[in-house]
Symmetry: C2
Protein backbone atom coordinates (compact mmCIF):
# COMPACT_ATOMS: atom_id res chain seq x y z
CA UNK A 1 0.00 0.00 0.00
CA UNK A 2 1.41 3.39 -0.94
CA UNK A 3 1.14 6.47 1.22
CA UNK A 4 -1.47 8.46 -0.77
CA UNK A 5 -3.77 5.44 -0.70
CA UNK A 6 -3.31 5.08 3.03
CA UNK A 7 -4.07 8.79 3.59
CA UNK A 8 -7.14 8.47 1.40
CA UNK A 9 -8.27 5.40 3.29
CA UNK A 10 -7.95 7.12 6.64
CA UNK A 11 -9.92 10.17 5.41
CA UNK A 12 -12.61 7.87 4.03
CA UNK A 13 -12.83 5.74 7.17
CA UNK A 14 -13.01 8.85 9.37
CA UNK A 15 -15.97 10.25 7.40
CA UNK A 16 -17.66 6.88 7.39
CA UNK A 17 -17.16 6.59 11.13
CA UNK A 18 -18.61 10.07 11.76
CA UNK A 19 -21.69 9.19 9.69
CA UNK A 20 -22.11 5.95 11.61
CA UNK A 21 -21.86 7.75 14.97
CA UNK A 22 -24.57 10.25 14.02
CA UNK A 23 -26.79 7.40 12.78
CA UNK A 24 -26.32 5.47 16.03
CA UNK A 25 -27.52 8.53 17.91
CA UNK A 26 -30.71 8.89 15.82
CA UNK A 27 -31.77 5.37 14.97
CA UNK A 28 -33.75 2.51 16.48
CA UNK A 29 -32.07 -0.61 17.96
CA UNK A 30 -31.88 -2.61 14.70
CA UNK A 31 -30.13 0.15 12.78
CA UNK A 32 -27.97 0.92 15.82
CA UNK A 33 -26.61 -2.65 15.92
CA UNK A 34 -25.93 -2.54 12.18
CA UNK A 35 -24.14 0.78 12.56
CA UNK A 36 -22.09 -0.41 15.52
CA UNK A 37 -20.84 -3.22 13.28
CA UNK A 38 -19.84 -0.66 10.68
CA UNK A 39 -18.11 1.39 13.40
CA UNK A 40 -16.17 -1.65 14.56
CA UNK A 41 -15.09 -2.41 10.99
CA UNK A 42 -14.03 1.21 10.53
CA UNK A 43 -11.88 1.10 13.64
CA UNK A 44 -10.18 -2.08 12.43
CA UNK A 45 -9.56 -0.45 9.05
CA UNK A 46 -8.09 2.67 10.64
CA UNK A 47 -5.80 0.65 12.90
CA UNK A 48 -4.58 -1.29 9.88
CA UNK A 49 -3.99 1.87 7.86
CA UNK A 50 -2.10 3.41 10.79
CA UNK A 51 0.03 0.28 11.20
CA UNK A 52 0.68 0.25 7.45
CA UNK A 53 2.09 3.80 7.68
CA UNK A 54 4.33 2.85 10.60
CA UNK A 55 5.59 -0.29 8.86
CA UNK A 56 6.16 1.70 5.67
CA UNK A 57 8.42 4.04 7.62
CA UNK A 58 10.25 1.16 9.32
CA UNK A 59 10.89 -0.44 5.92
CA UNK A 60 12.03 2.88 4.45
CA UNK A 61 14.63 3.47 7.16
CA UNK A 62 16.23 0.09 6.42
CA UNK A 63 18.18 2.16 3.88
CA UNK A 64 20.14 3.85 6.68
CA UNK A 65 22.15 0.58 6.84
CA UNK A 66 23.49 1.43 3.36
CA UNK A 67 24.59 5.01 4.14
CA UNK A 68 28.36 4.77 4.54
CA UNK A 69 30.17 7.22 6.81
CA UNK A 70 33.80 8.36 6.67
CA UNK A 71 34.75 6.72 9.98
CA UNK A 72 36.16 3.19 9.96
CA UNK A 73 35.23 0.38 12.36
CA UNK A 74 37.76 0.05 15.18
CA UNK A 75 39.24 -3.06 13.53
CA UNK A 76 39.62 -1.01 10.30
CA UNK A 77 37.92 -3.77 8.28
CA UNK A 78 35.55 -1.31 6.57
CA UNK A 79 33.77 2.05 6.94
CA UNK A 80 30.94 2.39 9.45
CA UNK A 81 27.34 2.81 8.27
CA UNK A 82 24.89 5.29 9.79
CA UNK A 83 22.51 2.68 11.27
CA UNK A 84 25.18 0.91 13.34
CA UNK A 85 26.67 4.33 14.21
CA UNK A 86 23.25 5.32 15.62
CA UNK A 87 23.11 2.09 17.64
CA UNK A 88 26.57 2.73 19.06
CA UNK A 89 25.70 6.33 19.99
CA UNK A 90 22.57 5.21 21.85
CA UNK A 91 24.82 2.85 23.86
CA UNK A 92 27.20 5.77 24.52
CA UNK A 93 24.26 7.79 25.87
CA UNK A 94 23.07 4.90 28.04
CA UNK A 95 26.54 4.39 29.53
CA UNK A 96 27.99 7.89 29.77
CA UNK A 97 25.02 10.02 30.89
CA UNK A 98 26.81 10.84 34.15
CA UNK A 99 29.26 13.03 32.16
CA UNK A 100 26.60 15.32 30.67
CA UNK A 101 27.18 19.03 31.34
CA UNK A 102 23.72 19.43 32.87
CA UNK A 103 20.74 17.32 33.93
CA UNK A 104 19.62 15.17 30.98
CA UNK A 105 16.82 12.71 30.28
CA UNK A 106 18.90 9.76 29.08
CA UNK A 107 15.98 8.12 27.28
CA UNK A 108 15.23 11.25 25.27
CA UNK A 109 18.92 11.54 24.39
CA UNK A 110 18.87 7.91 23.22
CA UNK A 111 15.78 8.51 21.11
CA UNK A 112 17.38 11.59 19.53
CA UNK A 113 20.52 9.67 18.68
CA UNK A 114 18.57 6.74 17.22
CA UNK A 115 16.83 9.01 14.74
CA UNK A 116 19.32 11.89 14.29
CA UNK A 117 20.84 10.48 11.08
CA UNK A 118 17.67 9.20 9.37
CA UNK A 119 17.68 12.22 7.02
CA UNK A 120 20.88 10.80 5.48
CA UNK A 121 18.69 8.30 3.62
CA UNK A 122 17.81 11.20 1.29
CA UNK A 123 20.89 13.41 1.47
CA UNK A 124 23.81 11.16 2.51
CA UNK A 125 26.36 11.80 5.23
CA UNK A 126 27.99 15.26 5.26
CA UNK A 127 31.51 14.56 6.56
CA UNK A 128 32.86 16.91 9.22
CA UNK A 129 36.09 17.40 7.21
CA UNK A 130 34.30 17.72 3.85
CA UNK A 131 33.97 21.51 3.75
CA UNK A 132 30.31 21.47 2.67
CA UNK A 133 28.06 24.49 3.20
CA UNK A 134 26.22 24.34 6.52
CA UNK A 135 23.25 26.22 5.07
CA UNK A 136 22.81 23.92 2.06
CA UNK A 137 23.15 20.91 4.34
CA UNK A 138 20.55 22.25 6.79
CA UNK A 139 18.04 22.94 3.99
CA UNK A 140 18.45 19.52 2.38
CA UNK A 141 18.18 17.76 5.72
CA UNK A 142 15.05 19.69 6.70
CA UNK A 143 13.35 18.58 3.46
CA UNK A 144 14.42 14.99 4.10
CA UNK A 145 13.05 15.11 7.64
CA UNK A 146 9.71 16.46 6.39
CA UNK A 147 9.43 13.67 3.82
CA UNK A 148 10.53 10.82 6.08
CA UNK A 149 8.70 11.70 9.30
CA UNK A 150 5.74 12.67 7.09
CA UNK A 151 5.31 8.98 6.25
CA UNK A 152 4.15 8.34 9.83
CA UNK A 153 0.70 8.91 11.37
CA UNK A 154 0.59 12.66 11.89
CA UNK A 155 0.95 13.03 15.67
CA UNK A 156 3.72 10.47 15.80
CA UNK A 157 5.52 12.00 12.81
CA UNK A 158 5.30 15.50 14.32
CA UNK A 159 6.70 14.23 17.59
CA UNK A 160 9.76 12.71 15.89
CA UNK A 161 10.23 15.74 13.68
CA UNK A 162 10.31 17.97 16.76
CA UNK A 163 12.82 15.67 18.46
CA UNK A 164 15.02 15.75 15.35
CA UNK A 165 14.75 19.58 15.18
CA UNK A 166 15.66 19.83 18.86
CA UNK A 167 18.81 17.81 18.15
CA UNK A 168 19.70 19.98 15.15
CA UNK A 169 19.22 23.22 17.09
CA UNK A 170 21.37 21.85 19.93
CA UNK A 171 20.05 24.25 22.54
CA UNK A 172 18.50 22.02 25.21
CA UNK A 173 20.65 20.06 27.66
CA UNK A 174 19.50 16.80 26.03
CA UNK A 175 20.46 17.99 22.54
CA UNK A 176 23.81 19.37 23.71
CA UNK A 177 24.75 16.07 25.27
CA UNK A 178 23.55 14.13 22.20
CA UNK A 179 25.61 16.37 19.92
CA UNK A 180 28.66 16.01 22.15
CA UNK A 181 28.45 12.20 21.87
CA UNK A 182 27.97 12.43 18.10
CA UNK A 183 31.37 14.20 17.96
CA UNK A 184 33.02 12.16 20.72
CA UNK A 185 32.49 8.73 19.12
CA UNK A 186 34.27 9.49 15.82
CA UNK A 187 37.06 11.29 17.69
CA UNK A 188 37.58 8.16 19.82
CA UNK A 189 37.52 6.05 16.64
CA UNK A 190 40.18 8.20 14.99
CA UNK A 191 42.44 8.07 18.03
CA UNK A 192 42.11 4.27 18.36
CA UNK A 193 42.65 3.59 14.65
CA UNK A 194 45.85 5.59 14.49
CA UNK A 195 44.36 8.64 12.79
CA UNK A 196 41.34 7.44 10.75
CA UNK A 197 39.66 10.28 8.88
CA UNK A 198 42.24 12.81 10.17
CA UNK A 199 45.07 11.06 8.35
CA UNK A 200 42.92 10.60 5.21
CA UNK A 201 42.01 14.30 5.10
CA UNK A 202 45.29 15.79 6.36
CA UNK A 203 43.57 17.28 9.42
CA UNK A 204 45.79 19.13 11.93
CA UNK A 205 45.71 19.24 15.73
CA UNK A 206 44.30 22.78 15.56
CA UNK A 207 41.51 21.66 13.23
CA UNK A 208 40.61 18.76 15.53
CA UNK A 209 40.46 21.15 18.47
CA UNK A 210 38.25 23.65 16.61
CA UNK A 211 35.94 21.13 14.86
CA UNK A 212 35.28 18.80 17.82
CA UNK A 213 36.23 20.83 20.88
CA UNK A 214 33.41 23.36 21.31
CA UNK A 215 30.60 20.81 20.78
CA UNK A 216 32.06 18.13 23.07
CA UNK A 217 33.08 20.67 25.73
CA UNK A 218 29.61 22.22 25.82
CA UNK A 219 27.75 18.92 26.24
CA UNK A 220 30.26 16.76 28.12
CA UNK A 221 33.23 18.75 29.49
CA UNK A 222 34.78 15.78 31.32
CA UNK A 223 34.86 13.79 28.09
CA UNK A 224 36.57 16.71 26.36
CA UNK A 225 39.34 16.71 29.01
CA UNK A 226 40.11 13.12 28.06
CA UNK A 227 39.94 14.01 24.35
CA UNK A 228 42.46 16.82 24.79
CA UNK A 229 44.99 14.37 26.23
CA UNK A 230 44.33 11.79 23.49
CA UNK A 231 44.55 14.31 20.67
CA UNK A 232 47.67 16.02 22.00
CA UNK A 233 49.39 12.63 22.39
CA UNK A 234 48.20 11.49 18.95
CA UNK A 235 49.61 14.53 17.13
CA UNK A 236 52.90 14.48 19.06
CA UNK A 237 53.70 10.96 17.82
Amino acid sequence: MHMPIVAHLIAYATKFQEAAVSNVRDAGPGIALYNRTILYECEKLMTLARLEQQLGFLREIDQLKSVVRQSPLLDRSRKENSAEHSWHLAMYALLLNEYAAGPVDTNRVMQMLLLHDIVEIDVGDFPIHGGSSALVQAEQEARAAARLFGMLPQLQGDQFLRLWQEFEEGETEDARFAKALDRFQPLLTNVFTGGGTWTENGVSLEQVFSRYGPVIKKGAPQLWSVCEQWVTRHFSQ
Copy 2:
Protein backbone atom coordinates in the same frame (compact mmCIF):
# COMPACT_ATOMS: atom_id res chain seq x y z
CA MET B 1 44.82 0.64 30.14
CA HIS B 2 43.79 -3.00 30.61
CA MET B 3 41.00 -4.12 32.89
CA PRO B 4 43.09 -5.75 35.69
CA ILE B 5 45.13 -2.55 35.99
CA VAL B 6 41.96 -0.49 36.22
CA ALA B 7 40.53 -2.75 38.92
CA HIS B 8 43.83 -2.55 40.82
CA LEU B 9 43.84 1.21 40.49
CA ILE B 10 40.33 1.56 41.85
CA ALA B 11 41.11 -0.67 44.83
CA TYR B 12 44.28 1.32 45.52
CA ALA B 13 42.55 4.70 45.20
CA THR B 14 39.71 3.57 47.47
CA LYS B 15 42.14 2.56 50.24
CA PHE B 16 44.10 5.76 49.81
CA GLN B 17 40.92 7.77 50.02
CA GLU B 18 39.78 5.98 53.19
CA ALA B 19 43.15 6.68 54.81
CA ALA B 20 42.93 10.35 53.80
CA VAL B 21 39.42 10.66 55.26
CA SER B 22 40.49 9.28 58.63
CA ASN B 23 43.51 11.63 58.64
CA VAL B 24 41.36 14.64 57.88
CA ARG B 25 39.23 13.78 60.89
CA ASP B 26 42.26 13.58 63.28
CA ALA B 27 44.68 16.21 62.04
CA GLY B 28 45.32 19.94 62.40
CA PRO B 29 44.48 22.45 59.61
CA GLY B 30 47.84 22.12 57.74
CA ILE B 31 47.61 18.35 57.47
CA ALA B 32 43.89 18.61 56.71
CA LEU B 33 44.52 20.84 53.68
CA TYR B 34 47.22 18.50 52.42
CA ASN B 35 44.93 15.54 52.86
CA ARG B 36 42.03 17.23 51.13
CA THR B 37 44.34 17.72 48.14
CA ILE B 38 45.08 13.98 48.19
CA LEU B 39 41.37 13.25 48.44
CA TYR B 40 40.67 15.45 45.44
CA GLU B 41 43.38 13.74 43.42
CA CYS B 42 41.95 10.34 44.41
CA GLU B 43 38.52 11.29 43.21
CA LYS B 44 39.89 12.44 39.87
CA LEU B 45 41.81 9.16 39.58
CA MET B 46 38.71 7.10 40.36
CA THR B 47 36.57 9.01 37.86
CA LEU B 48 39.19 8.43 35.19
CA ALA B 49 39.44 4.73 36.00
CA ARG B 50 35.65 4.42 35.88
CA LEU B 51 35.48 6.22 32.53
CA GLU B 52 38.28 4.00 31.22
CA GLN B 53 36.18 0.91 32.04
CA GLN B 54 33.14 2.38 30.28
CA LEU B 55 35.12 3.37 27.20
CA GLY B 56 36.76 -0.08 27.15
CA PHE B 57 33.29 -1.65 26.98
CA LEU B 58 32.13 0.80 24.27
CA ARG B 59 35.22 -0.05 22.20
CA GLU B 60 34.69 -3.79 22.75
CA ILE B 61 31.10 -3.73 21.51
CA ASP B 62 32.23 -2.14 18.23
CA GLN B 63 32.67 -5.81 17.23
CA LEU B 64 28.88 -6.28 17.11
CA LYS B 65 29.05 -4.45 13.75
CA SER B 66 30.96 -7.46 12.38
CA VAL B 67 28.54 -10.16 13.59
CA VAL B 68 26.61 -11.15 10.48
CA ARG B 69 23.04 -12.44 10.80
CA GLN B 70 21.12 -14.70 8.43
CA SER B 71 18.58 -12.01 7.45
CA PRO B 72 19.24 -9.85 4.38
CA LEU B 73 18.74 -6.10 4.11
CA LEU B 74 15.43 -5.24 2.44
CA ASP B 75 17.26 -4.32 -0.80
CA ARG B 76 18.98 -7.77 -0.63
CA SER B 77 22.38 -6.14 -1.17
CA ARG B 78 23.94 -8.04 1.75
CA LYS B 79 23.21 -9.76 5.09
CA GLU B 80 22.31 -7.61 8.09
CA ASN B 81 24.72 -7.25 11.01
CA SER B 82 23.68 -7.42 14.66
CA ALA B 83 24.49 -3.78 15.49
CA GLU B 84 22.26 -2.29 12.79
CA HIS B 85 19.63 -4.95 13.60
CA SER B 86 19.65 -3.69 17.21
CA TRP B 87 19.23 -0.10 16.02
CA HIS B 88 16.30 -1.08 13.83
CA LEU B 89 14.62 -2.99 16.66
CA ALA B 90 14.92 0.00 19.00
CA MET B 91 13.13 2.04 16.31
CA TYR B 92 10.45 -0.66 16.08
CA ALA B 93 9.93 -0.39 19.84
CA LEU B 94 9.75 3.40 19.71
CA LEU B 95 7.16 3.33 16.90
CA LEU B 96 5.06 0.28 17.67
CA ASN B 97 4.69 0.35 21.47
CA GLU B 98 0.91 0.83 21.12
CA TYR B 99 0.65 -2.79 19.88
CA ALA B 100 2.21 -4.35 23.00
CA ALA B 101 0.05 -7.01 24.66
CA GLY B 102 0.20 -5.25 28.02
CA PRO B 103 1.45 -1.99 29.54
CA VAL B 104 5.15 -1.54 28.70
CA ASP B 105 7.88 0.97 29.49
CA THR B 106 9.01 1.80 25.94
CA ASN B 107 12.38 3.13 27.07
CA ARG B 108 13.21 -0.07 28.97
CA VAL B 109 12.15 -2.10 25.93
CA MET B 110 14.47 0.03 23.76
CA GLN B 111 17.35 -0.43 26.18
CA MET B 112 16.79 -4.20 26.21
CA LEU B 113 16.79 -4.34 22.43
CA LEU B 114 19.93 -2.19 22.14
CA LEU B 115 21.90 -4.63 24.28
CA HIS B 116 20.10 -7.96 23.71
CA ASP B 117 22.56 -9.20 21.04
CA ILE B 118 25.82 -7.98 22.57
CA VAL B 119 26.64 -11.54 23.71
CA GLU B 120 26.99 -12.46 20.02
CA ILE B 121 30.40 -10.77 20.08
CA ASP B 122 31.64 -13.91 21.88
CA VAL B 123 29.29 -16.61 20.58
CA GLY B 124 27.97 -15.39 17.21
CA ASP B 125 24.38 -15.37 16.06
CA PHE B 126 22.35 -18.56 16.60
CA PRO B 127 19.97 -18.61 13.61
CA ILE B 128 16.33 -19.46 14.34
CA HIS B 129 16.33 -22.08 11.55
CA GLY B 130 19.76 -23.49 12.49
CA GLY B 131 18.60 -26.30 14.79
CA SER B 132 21.16 -25.50 17.53
CA SER B 133 20.64 -26.68 21.11
CA ALA B 134 18.81 -24.09 23.20
CA LEU B 135 20.63 -25.24 26.34
CA VAL B 136 24.12 -24.96 24.83
CA GLN B 137 23.22 -21.57 23.41
CA ALA B 138 21.88 -20.30 26.75
CA GLU B 139 25.03 -21.43 28.59
CA GLN B 140 27.40 -19.85 26.09
CA GLU B 141 25.45 -16.60 26.03
CA ALA B 142 25.34 -16.39 29.83
CA ARG B 143 29.14 -16.71 29.95
CA ALA B 144 29.47 -14.01 27.27
CA ALA B 145 27.14 -11.69 29.19
CA ALA B 146 29.16 -12.16 32.38
CA ARG B 147 32.42 -11.36 30.58
CA LEU B 148 31.13 -8.37 28.59
CA PHE B 149 29.01 -6.63 31.22
CA GLY B 150 31.77 -7.50 33.72
CA MET B 151 34.00 -4.98 31.89
CA LEU B 152 31.84 -2.13 33.25
CA PRO B 153 31.91 -0.47 36.68
CA GLN B 154 30.17 -3.00 38.90
CA LEU B 155 26.80 -1.36 39.59
CA GLN B 156 26.36 -0.36 35.97
CA GLY B 157 27.44 -3.79 34.71
CA ASP B 158 25.05 -5.54 37.09
CA GLN B 159 22.18 -3.34 35.94
CA PHE B 160 22.76 -4.21 32.27
CA LEU B 161 23.26 -7.89 33.07
CA ARG B 162 19.89 -7.95 34.84
CA LEU B 163 18.21 -6.20 31.91
CA TRP B 164 19.75 -8.76 29.51
CA GLN B 165 18.61 -11.64 31.76
CA GLU B 166 15.10 -10.18 31.91
CA PHE B 167 15.01 -10.18 28.10
CA GLU B 168 16.28 -13.77 27.94
CA GLU B 169 13.72 -15.00 30.48
CA GLY B 170 10.94 -13.21 28.59
CA GLU B 171 8.52 -13.15 31.50
CA THR B 172 7.85 -9.45 32.11
CA GLU B 173 5.60 -7.41 29.79
CA ASP B 174 8.64 -5.42 28.64
CA ALA B 175 10.62 -8.54 27.77
CA ARG B 176 7.66 -10.18 26.02
CA PHE B 177 7.17 -7.18 23.79
CA ALA B 178 10.92 -6.92 23.10
CA LYS B 179 11.03 -10.62 22.15
CA ALA B 180 7.97 -10.23 19.93
CA LEU B 181 9.70 -7.43 17.98
CA ASP B 182 12.91 -9.47 17.73
CA ARG B 183 10.84 -12.13 15.88
CA PHE B 184 8.60 -9.68 14.01
CA GLN B 185 11.39 -7.76 12.26
CA PRO B 186 13.03 -10.78 10.53
CA LEU B 187 9.59 -12.14 9.60
CA LEU B 188 8.76 -8.81 7.93
CA THR B 189 12.15 -8.91 6.18
CA ASN B 190 11.52 -12.41 4.84
CA VAL B 191 8.07 -11.48 3.56
CA PHE B 192 9.35 -8.31 1.85
CA THR B 193 12.38 -9.99 0.27
CA GLY B 194 10.34 -12.77 -1.28
CA GLY B 195 11.30 -15.46 1.23
CA GLY B 196 14.74 -14.54 2.61
CA THR B 197 15.98 -17.10 5.15
CA TRP B 198 12.85 -19.25 4.67
CA THR B 199 13.71 -19.93 1.03
CA GLU B 200 17.39 -20.51 1.89
CA ASN B 201 16.54 -23.03 4.61
CA GLY B 202 13.50 -24.68 3.01
CA VAL B 203 11.23 -23.52 5.84
CA SER B 204 7.51 -24.39 5.55
CA LEU B 205 4.41 -22.37 6.47
CA GLU B 206 3.89 -24.65 9.48
CA GLN B 207 7.45 -24.04 10.67
CA VAL B 208 7.03 -20.26 10.31
CA PHE B 209 3.82 -20.42 12.34
CA SER B 210 5.42 -22.52 15.09
CA ARG B 211 8.80 -20.71 15.25
CA TYR B 212 7.53 -17.12 15.14
CA GLY B 213 3.86 -17.33 16.10
CA PRO B 214 3.85 -17.99 19.85
CA VAL B 215 6.48 -15.34 20.66
CA ILE B 216 4.93 -12.59 18.50
CA LYS B 217 1.39 -13.45 19.59
CA LYS B 218 2.29 -13.33 23.28
CA GLY B 219 4.01 -9.92 23.08
CA ALA B 220 2.12 -8.18 20.27
CA PRO B 221 -1.07 -10.02 19.22
CA GLN B 222 -2.17 -7.36 16.70
CA LEU B 223 1.16 -7.60 14.89
CA TRP B 224 0.75 -11.39 14.74
CA SER B 225 -2.65 -10.98 13.01
CA VAL B 226 -0.91 -9.05 10.24
CA CYS B 227 1.86 -11.66 10.10
CA GLU B 228 -0.66 -14.48 9.65
CA GLN B 229 -2.06 -12.77 6.57
CA TRP B 230 1.41 -12.05 5.13
CA VAL B 231 2.68 -15.56 5.75
CA THR B 232 -0.42 -17.28 4.38
CA ARG B 233 -0.27 -15.13 1.24
CA HIS B 234 3.50 -15.70 0.89
CA PHE B 235 3.23 -19.49 1.00
CA SER B 236 0.20 -19.60 -1.31
CA GLN B 237 2.15 -17.91 -4.12
